[in-house]
């Protein structure tokens, strides 16, 4: 491990988030380059797509962001320490070329595209700049309110695909084959649906469970369906020095080989937890929308790639 440190002394320069002499353009939401207007220039190098006009928005604060000043936008983007760290750490890398710093950042106010909330969709293969790797969704957890009290013993008796052990767990465990999922149905009428591979599948599955409950004679509704968690995974295809990563990204990383072989990276923006393994496999979880998974991966990929060169 000593050799690693000696070859890259830059890794230890302390920095503050605002200390970076860098344009705001960083890799972010590259996926949306196809969904929205084309970026101002199509670069040939990595990480130089100008996507600073894209705010980090949800349906709620859409209006707020649209009226935000461009400078505030910059500050918000600069403030994300995780990105700034890797940007400044790896500016010496020739492959990471950033567009000219003097280039004016696009006035955020006039470039805001008509934003639609991130409707779930199959990922479009990103143009060229990004990693070229798309995380695959592995599990979706959703909840829905059937809005009626349920007799769990009754359900377990009348349904073939139900399991009920009140001593072990206070809910019926029900499964359907298509989409292959599992549901936890509580006597309050609340239901959790797990195992789906996409948001739509989760919704379809939840509706089927609700129908089963309806057919069993309960006045089940389908209220407040919500995706609670999404898990994705992918492979960067090169080994990663976790002990190095935890050194340079200490405030986000937890690497305890005594406990768990992977490094737990808590990304701030988006708020996603990544499990990074020495084999190069990455698990991303904690997302409410799939765009967060893609964004998180595009954020971590340059960091991981930087470690590949340094080792």
């Amino acid at each position: 491990f000593k050799d690693d440190l000696s070859t890259s002394p830059q890794l230890f320069t302390p920095m503050s988030p605002y200390d970076v002499d860098l344009p705001i353009q960083t890799t972010e939401d590259v996926l949306f380059s196809s969904q929205f207007n084309q970026p101002k220039e199509l670069p040939t190098d990595d990480f130089s797509v100008d996507l600073s006009f894209l705010p980090d928005i949800t349906q709620d604060n859409k209006e707020q962001n649209l009226s935000e000043d461009g400078h505030e936008m910059q500050k918000e983007l600069d403030g994300s320490t995780s990105r700034n760290e890797d940007s400044s750490i790896f500016t010496h890398e020739s492959t990471l070329s950033y567009p000219d710093a003097s280039q004016p950042s696009p006035g955020a106010t006039d470039v805001y595209p008509p934003v639609t909330p991130m409707t779930p969709m199959t990922p479009v293969t990103p143009a060229s700049e990004s990693s070229g790797i798309v995380p695959q969704l592995q599990n979706i957890v959703s909840t829905v309110n059937l809005a009626c009290k349920l007799d769990l013993k009754n359900i377990a008796l009348h349904a073939r695909n139900a399991e009920y052990n009140p001593k072990r767990f206070a809910a019926v465990i029900m499964r359907i084959r298509e989409p292959q999922t599992t549901a936890l149905i509580f006597s309050s009428g609340k239901m959790v649906c797990t195992g789906a591979k996409s948001e739509e599948q989760s919704r379809l599955a939840a509706r089927k469970y609700a129908r089963v409950v309806q057919k069993l004679g309960f006045p089940a509704k389908f209220l407040d369906f919500k995706i609670q968690n999404m898990v994705g995974s992918c492979d960067v295809r090169f080994p990663i020095r976790l002990e190095g990563l935890v050194l340079t990204h200490q405030q986000f990383s937890s690497y305890e080989p005594e406990l768990f072989p992977g490094l737990i990276y808590r990304m701030v923006k988006p708020r996603i937890v990544l499990l990074i393994f020495v084999s190069g496999k990455v698990v991303l979880t904690g997302a409410k929308e799939r765009s967060e998974i893609y964004e998180a991966f595009e954020n971590i990929y340059p960091i991981l790639k930087g470690f590949r060169k340094a080792s």
Partner: protein
């Protein structure tokens, strides 16, 4: 100000004074009462742990302050007593790690008689809730501390004389082997102690191979008075494999038919030239650092037969061109973590098929599909009988 006393305790005359008891400052000011009993007990426990581990005073203060902060935090305020006890140990553990004091979780868990899973969950919550950044365990320090517990540095009745070893030499060599393991991906993601134990064994054997080659790993640990953790055998195997590959690059060793036993005799040489040997014995992934494969260390006498002819011969033998081409056609194996070299065959979940991706979630659901999940009346009767509901 004022406290309510029970009736009859306030006396008016000296002769009535019966309870001549001094009121302690802490009592009258309620100093002790400000800290709940739970907190007091916890703080005492933290202090005791620090004393047992012989930690500097400043560690104790830090650990206690973490503990107080943690207990006030909503996520720890109401946890079980068992968890609160572990919380104290976690605070000590975090303090040690932050100050590069090599303390393993295993040690703390055994001191607390705690289950490691429970300790792990409390530790991770503590780290998250208090936003503590905990640096990784320093392997170098761990080697020194772990070797301290080995009994082989002094003569004893049950230890054969040739088995006793000089501590300094053993620490140095074990460190080098552990570093080698780290460079060759044997350390990342694995428990550290088994690696250190395996490295200690190899270093001990190599310091006096004549008498020690016959001693097994198990016997070594018994003599040394340390545990032999199960993964240590695997780590030993992996280390030997690396050393054998390195040995194949040393010209004067190629004449010998190296195996797991004989390579131990040459560990000293292999460690001395390890940087060069690693570069030639393994195909580095990117290969950009490979070009400067000058034998920087080692005397010229050893170096010259080592470098060009060895590289040339290596090229012949193993098919990896000496220009440092990235592709290795079945020659020196790439320097990768073992999990990538021997991947376990795993069911790869197929990506969503075209039909799956076309799902909108609003498809109509047929009655027949739902009915397949419902029991018929006869089935229900049979079930009722069987389950006696």
């Amino acid at each position: 100000c004022g406290c309510v006393l029970a009736e009859g305790l306030l006396t008016t005359t000296y002769t009535e004074e019966e309870h001549l008891r001094e009121v302690a400052y802490s009592h009258s000011t309620g100093q002790k009462e400000q800290l709940s009993r739970c907190l007091q007990r916890g703080i005492r426990r933290v202090q005791d742990l620090c004393k047992v581990l012989q930690l500097p005073m400043v560690f104790e203060e830090t650990a206690v302050s973490y503990f107080q902060r943690a207990l006030q935090h909503p996520s720890f305020h109401l946890v079980s007593l068992e968890k609160k006890e572990l919380l104290g140990g976690c605070c000590v553990f975090v303090t040690c790690r932050q100050r590069n004091w090599p303390l393993t979780m295993g040690t703390i868990c055994s001191l607390l008689y705690a289950k490691q899973e429970l300790f792990a969950s409390v530790y991770l919550s503590l780290q998250k809730e208090l936003g503590l950044s905990v640096p990784a365990l320093s392997l170098g320090d761990l080697v020194k501390t772990h070797l301290n517990s080995f009994r082989l540095f002094q003569h004893a009745a049950d230890i054969p004389a040739p088995f006793v070893e000089d501590k300094e030499k053993m620490v140095t060599r074990t460190m080098q082997i552990v570093e080698l393991a780290s460079e060759t991906w044997l350390v990342t993601g694995r428990h550290p102690i088994p690696i250190v134990t395996a490295a200690a064994f190899l270093s001990w054997q190599s310091l006096q191979p004549a008498t020690r080659l016959t001693c097994t790993f198990t016997r070594f640990c018994k003599l040394a008075g340390v545990d032999l953790p199960p993964p240590a055998h695997l780590r030993l195997k992996e280390l030997l494999e690396i050393l054998l590959r390195m040995a194949s690059q040393l010209a004067w060793l190629r004449v010998f038919n190296m195996d797991k036993k004989t390579v131990v005799k040459h560990i000293g040489d292999l460690l001395q030239h390890r940087i060069f040997l690693l570069k030639t014995a393994f195909c580095l992934e990117d290969g950009e650092e490979q070009h400067t494969a000058a034998p920087g260390e080692g005397s010229p006498g050893e170096g010259s037969p080592g470098s060009p002819p060895a590289a040339g011969e290596a090229a012949q033998e193993e098919g990896c061109p000496s220009e440092g081409k990235r592709q290795c056609e079945g020659g020196p194996r790439p320097l990768l973590p073992p999990c990538l070299i021997n991947p376990r065959k795993r069911l790869r979940t197929a990506a969503l098929s075209a039909s799956d991706s076309a799902i909108t979630g609003d498809e109509p659901i047929s009655d027949s599909e739902i009915e397949q999940y419902l029991r018929g009346p006869e089935e229900i009767r049979a079930f009722r009988k069987a389950k006696a509901w």
